[in-house]
């Protein structure tokens, strides 16, 4: 067992990793840039080292050496899927909490990952295995794939560099345009073709392997509520999914990760086409994901602790289940790839971004004012927000994650609704108003989901003008008071026995102070 881990990240995920490490009795080391010197994750750690940037591998390794950390947890983003960094850790004798550099590189290569999936019988989105260079070959491949299809830039990613083609006659002109756009945007005009799955659902399977080929699944997550290919809301289990499809996805995911001899936590993403009940391998993420808390609440597993235990030599079952006992055999089949958790709950996560959903989701910057996160039964908040904190454009706009769960999807939604209503975060624009609308939206309540959900249903202008009248009056009254203080009658905070109140009201509001002033003037 290790005793010290360096967390190569910042914000809510750094804090979250440190919490699990501390609970295991380990010491934690934070890294921080100058901009983050006052950040909560620094104070939460036992040791802290300043670095130039969270992407500077040499500096991070040096920090690990200096602080005598035996392991580095990369969180997500930054260097978490950087095989060179994972390799450098290994070379320095520091344990990288994640898959091997080889498995990471394999899964990071989209083409290689698809080939691996296909080799174990996992369906992949029909497409050209390599970039198309000649028009004749492209037309032939397109005919085989069928329409509608997507032209994708090989050097693109994150949803960029894609162009839809709906019929054969559009193909060649679109190809020419796509090539020149790709060359201009990515410096590489190579494009390949892929079937366009209409209104797909994004469903992913959480996996955990031991590096020898043994892999367990921890259920699937529905992540269809996205904007610009970025997830905003996730839930588990995926609602309204036929059981045989669900089990087939688990089997496929386990088989693919197994073939890669994957170690640690990873996720395989699928596109699911409800109309045909077919699913296709999209890609594998060789790291812990942002939405992992949803799986933790459903299964009861602390995924970070599982990662840390596995990295320090625990066998798979002990790392995942500890003394709690693991999943049970699926009553529908004896297939070990289909084992299920006992007493699962339904969990939903709402990502709180510093973005304005009423203004094209533009990032919002500023200083946090009031930070009051939700609490109570069935609610978890992963956050490192504090009043006075600066939110800048230099880091990812994800501020916090709000997770709610219940014995049913309806109960989870009701709790999430309540938690969203009590969440108060001021100083920047956030996605909170979007979430408050979502948990009341008919299609969301019915689980009528697809990746087109936000584009089709979110109407910012309608929502903005629908603020309740009485709340507008309350806001107007308070704003008027703030603009002209001292004019509105303010209820005095009369202390019970004449002593000054512990949480003081503003000086002009206190009866006690007024009385004291009056006495002083006599």
């Amino acid at each position: 067992m290790f005793s010290r881990v360096l967390v190569a990240n910042r914000g809510e995920i750094a804090l979250r990793v440190m919490r699990s490490a501390s609970a295991l009795g380990w010491r934690t080391v934070a890294i921080h840039t100058d901009l983050d010197r006052a950040a909560l994750h620094v104070r939460a750690a036992d040791a802290a080292v300043r670095v130039e940037s969270y992407l500077n591998a040499e500096a991070i390794l040096a920090a690990a050496q200096k602080s005598e950390a035996q392991a580095i947890h990369p969180g997500y983003g930054f260097l978490s899927e950087n095989p060179a960094f994972a390799r450098a850790c290994r070379d320095e004798g520091i344990v990288f909490v994640g898959p091997s550099p080889e498995a990471m590189a394999l899964m990071g290569d989209k083409v290689a990952a698809r080939q691996l999936a296909a080799s174990v019988g996992v369906p992949t989105v029909p497409g050209t295995p390599e970039p198309v260079t000649e028009d004749a070959a492209a037309a032939k491949a397109a005919a085989a794939i069928g329409y509608p299809l997507l032209i994708k830039a090989a050097a693109g990613g994150g949803g960029k560099g894609m162009r839809a083609v709906r019929s054969a006659k559009e193909l060649l002109p679109s190809l020419a345009q796509a090539r020149s756009e790709a060359a201009a945007s990515f410096g590489d005009g190579s494009v390949y073709l892929e079937k366009l799955v209409e209104r797909p659902r994004h469903i992913e399977v959480q996996l955990f392997g031991d590096g020898t080929g043994r892999v367990e699944h921890l259920g699937e997550r529905e992540c269809s509520i996205q904007r610009r290919y970025q997830k905003v809301v996730e839930e588990s289990p995926a609602p309204d999914l036929p059981d045989d499809v669900r089990r087939a996805m688990w089997r496929a995911a386990v088989d693919a990760a197994s073939a890669a001899k994957y170690a640690g936590a990873g996720t395989i993403e699928f596109l699911y086409e409800s109309s045909t009940q077919r699913f296709y391998f999209l890609e594998m993420n060789a790291r812990l994901q942002v939405e992992h808390p949803v799986t933790e609440q459903v299964t009861g597993v602390d995924l970070v602790q599982a990662q840390l235990r596995l990295a320090s030599g625990s066998p798979l079952d002990e790392a995942l289940w500890g003394e709690a006992g693991g999943p049970i055999e699926n009553p529908k089949s004896g297939d070990p790839r289909e084992r299920v958790i006992q007493n699962p709950v339904h969990a939903i996560e709402a990502r709180i971004y510093a973005e304005d959903p009423f203004n094209s989701w533009l990032p919002s910057t500023g200083t946090l004012g009031v930070v009051r996160e939700s609490g109570g039964l069935g609610v978890r908040v992963d956050s490192a927000c504090e009043p006075g904190q600066e939110v800048t454009v230099y880091y990812d706009p994800l501020l916090a994650k709000l997770i709610a769960w219940g014995r049913s999807r309806d109960e989870a939604i009701a709790r999430l609704r309540r938690a969203l209503d009590e969440y108060l975060l001021t100083g920047v624009r956030t996605s909170l108003p979007f979430h408050r609308w979502l948990v009341r939206d008919e299609a969301f309540l019915k689980a009528d989901l697809s990746t087109a959900f936000i584009a089709e249903r979110w109407r910012p202008d309608e929502v903005a003008s629908a603020a309740p009248e009485n709340q507008m009056h309350a806001a107007a009254l308070v704003a008027a008071h703030a603009a002209a203080p001292g004019r509105l009658v303010v209820a005095p905070r009369t202390p019970p026995n004449g002593r000054a109140p512990l949480a003081g009201a503003a000086p002009s509001d206190s009866n006690w102070r007024r009385a004291a002033r009056r006495d002083a003037l006599r």
Binding site: K160, L362, G427, Q471, V478, A484, L488, V489, A505
Partner: protein, 180 residues
């Protein structure tokens, strides 16, 4: 004291209590309000037994004492952009503007860059009448194009940038006057 509070396209007149003046009211309806500032920027308000919580963010420098005070209010889960000014001053300015033939209501909203970037386009010009939600400036930043839209209906008072120009975060790009 009478204050004009504008929220989007709505204007509410708030009358604050005064020894000499009329009874306090919001939008013409009398109110008996119990207001406490819990801590700076956070308020507890009880009106007719109903309990409200309102948090305020100040917006803008407030450098111009004649311009409306811009605030963002968080109330009941809604996030509302407000502008507060003296109602008499506002009415007078509107009257003067009407006499001189313009439709400006007085007080211009500044559209500022939310982040550093490059102006990709300005599809409006000075004097144009625009609707709420209409694109005023297209900004290219963080590898994507974003449309900055009008928070309320009005007239473009001043365009401060041109296409191709690089801008800083919070740099004023355009001023939009409210229309009557």
């Amino acid at each position: 004291m009478k204050l004009s509070v504008t929220i989007g396209d709505r204007r509410l007149v708030v009358v604050l209590p005064d020894e000499s003046g009329p009874a306090p009211s919001v939008d013409g309806a009398p109110v008996k309000a119990d207001l406490v500032e819990v801590r700076p920027g956070l308020y507890s308000l009880v009106i007719d037994g109903r309990s409200y919580e309102v948090a305020l963010d100040k917006v803008g420098s407030g450098a111009d004492p004649t311009a409306p005070r811009e605030l963002t209010a968080h109330a009941g889960g809604a996030v509302l952009d407000l502008a507060v000014e003296d109602e008499r001053r506002r009415a007078l300015a509107a009257l003067q503007a009407k006499r001189s033939g313009s439709t400006a209501q007085g007080g211009a909203t500044t559209i500022a860059a939310p982040m550093p970037g490059r102006v990709a386009g300005v599809p409006v010009k000075t004097g144009d009448a625009v609707e709420r939600g209409q694109t005023l400036v297209v900004l290219e930043a963080m590898k994507m194009e974003s449309a900055l839209t009008a928070p309320h209906a009005g007239t473009v008072a001043e365009v401060l940038v041109q296409p191709g120009q690089t801008v800083q975060q919070r740099q004023p790009l355009l001023r939009l006057e409210r229309s009557t």
